[in-house]
């Protein structure tokens, strides 16, 4: 039996698949969030140096990781859409952008909340903070460019090119910010190589998985809306039970 690998690369079939997958991802994300937060806030012990303040990392670290990975995934989908001219890839890239921007924002926000008691300042021009801020700008540029072009095909292709240029630039920006910062001064407090407590590791890992599942669920939900919007004049949309009723 030949497997049709491209069956779900068409919006028509992917729409139904996404609809079936969303509840599973959403439910498991919700459960893992509760478990992860419980372990992180109740089970895990207080840190020797940072006391209770460190607990924000259970939200901060997963969202930072996701904000960076999602940009790469977005650029990957954008490149696929540009090279193979597949409609769904471009829709996926568009759907990922707001979630990535949200995680970048959460990462900055929680970083500021952590920085105030730890560094004594809401904001420090640390290399990682600065590059995260620039990453947020890149997301916003992508969203803004896509939003300001009326023709969806041109919007897809133009913003795809921007995402690719951005992903080439990300390492350059990261290293330049890093060198720029070390030239001025190192960050005042660092995680010195203290080994993490097992409960901390567990909480961190569970929260990371929960964030991934949440991101997937939200992106799938968003891509369904985009499909509905873009293909609203087609027959298969008109025949969907939820549209007919």
């Amino acid at each position: 039996m030949a497997i049709n690998w491209f069956k779900y690369s068409a919006p028509t079939t992917f729409y139904g698949l996404a609809g079936k997958l969303i509840p599973w991802f959403a439910l498991s994300a919700a459960i893992l969030f509760v478990v992860g937060l419980y372990i992180g806030f109740v089970v895990a012990p207080a840190d020797a140096q940072q006391g209770e303040f460190y607990r924000i990392i259970f939200i901060h670290v997963p969202s930072s990781i996701l904000s960076m990975f999602l940009y790469l995934i977005m650029a990957g989908y954008a490149a696929l859409g540009l090279i193979f001219n597949t409609r769904l890839s471009a829709m996926m890239a568009t759907a990922i952008a707001p979630t990535g921007a949200l995680f970048a924002f959460i990462s900055l926000w929680t970083g500021a909340l952590w920085g105030k008691p730890m560094w004594g300042a809401w904001w420090v021009w640390d290399a990682r903070l600065t590059s995260e801020l620039i990453l947020l700008f890149l997301y916003l540029g992508f969203i803004a460019l896509h939003a300001s072009i009326d023709d969806p095909r041109r919007a897809d292709r133009a913003s795809a090119l921007l995402a690719i240029v951005g992903s080439v630039n990300v390492p350059i920006i990261y290293f330049s910010v890093k060198w720029w910062n070390t030239l001025h001064q190192g960050s005042t407090i660092k995680f010195t190589g203290t080994t993490m407590h097992v409960a901390m590791q567990q909480a961190m890992f569970i929260m990371l998985v929960a964030c991934w599942l949440y991101a997937i669920a939200v992106v799938l939900a968003r891509v369904r809306s985009i499909i509905l919007e873009r293909e609203r004049n087609t027959v298969w949309i008109a025949e969907l039970p939820e549209v007919r009723s």
């Binding site: 890149l138 916003l140 540029g141 803004a144 133009a158 921007l162 350059i172 910010v177 720029w180 030239l183």
Partner: protein, 222 residues
């Protein structure tokens, strides 16, 4: 190839000379932004001397954004750009020519003006020299990265603001090393590392941005 490049540059320069006001506006904007800083932060010389490289670079960045909108828009509106894309010659080469002309019109005047403004900030002769070399290496990169944004936002509503939003984050490395070189002079560190990195960016931009901009133009003109 080279003939084409010279031809495009000459054409764009002639067009720019016929509308001198546009060139001057960019330069005046640059001078004004730089002059506003001492009024904003106070006239203490020690502080101004420290701020000077950053102020000059940020002002150069902003004023190069200002003129980017014009890079393709006039040719786009009167249909010349479409003819250029139909031409048998390589579009990347044409784009490179337009970038070079844009830099000569909006980047080079800033480089020449910068030492005069630097004197207002009491910069040392050595720091001024490094500033000029840095600007000479860095402003072409700004024009080239900006051209990608200009091509992507061609013919869009509110293109100017959008263009800055897209391009400014990508220009941050240039800003960092441009100002870093001047600061290295005052702290007694070697300036060559910063300038080499700026040069590397220039070379990288030179080989990659014309092609990317050509692709962006094709997307925008479909």
């Amino acid at each position: 190839m080279l003939g084409l490049l010279v031809l495009v540059i000459r054409r764009d320069l002639v067009l720019a000379m016929r509308r001198r006001a546009d060139v001057l506006t960019t330069l005046i904007f640059f001078v004004m932004v730089v002059s506003l800083f001492p009024l904003g932060v106070g006239p203490e010389m020690s502080m101004l001397r420290k701020m000077a490289p950053g102020v000059l670079w940020v002002a150069a960045l902003l004023s190069s954004m200002l003129s980017l909108g014009r890079l393709f828009s006039a040719d786009y509106l009167d249909g010349t750009l479409e003819q250029m894309m139909l031409a048998p010659q390589s579009l990347s080469m044409l784009v490179l020519g337009k970038m070079a002309a844009h830099w000569m019109v909006s980047g080079l005047p800033l480089v020449l003006m910068a030492p005069v403004l630097g004197l207002q900030f009491d910069m040392s002769a050595q720091a001024l020299g490094v500033l000029i070399i840095g600007l000479l290496l860095g402003t072409p990169v700004l024009s080239m990265i900006g051209a990608i944004g200009a091509a992507l936002t061609l013919g869009l509503r509110g293109g100017g603001v959008l263009l800055s939003l897209l391009v400014l984050p990508l220009c941050i490395p240039v800003l960092i090393f441009g100002t870093g070189a001047v600061e290295a002079v005052s702290t007694g560190l070697s300036v060559t590392s910063h300038l080499s990195l700026l040069g590397a960016m220039l070379v990288f931009a030179l080989v990659s941005t014309p092609w990317v901009t050509a692709q962006a133009l094709r997307i925008s003109m479909e």
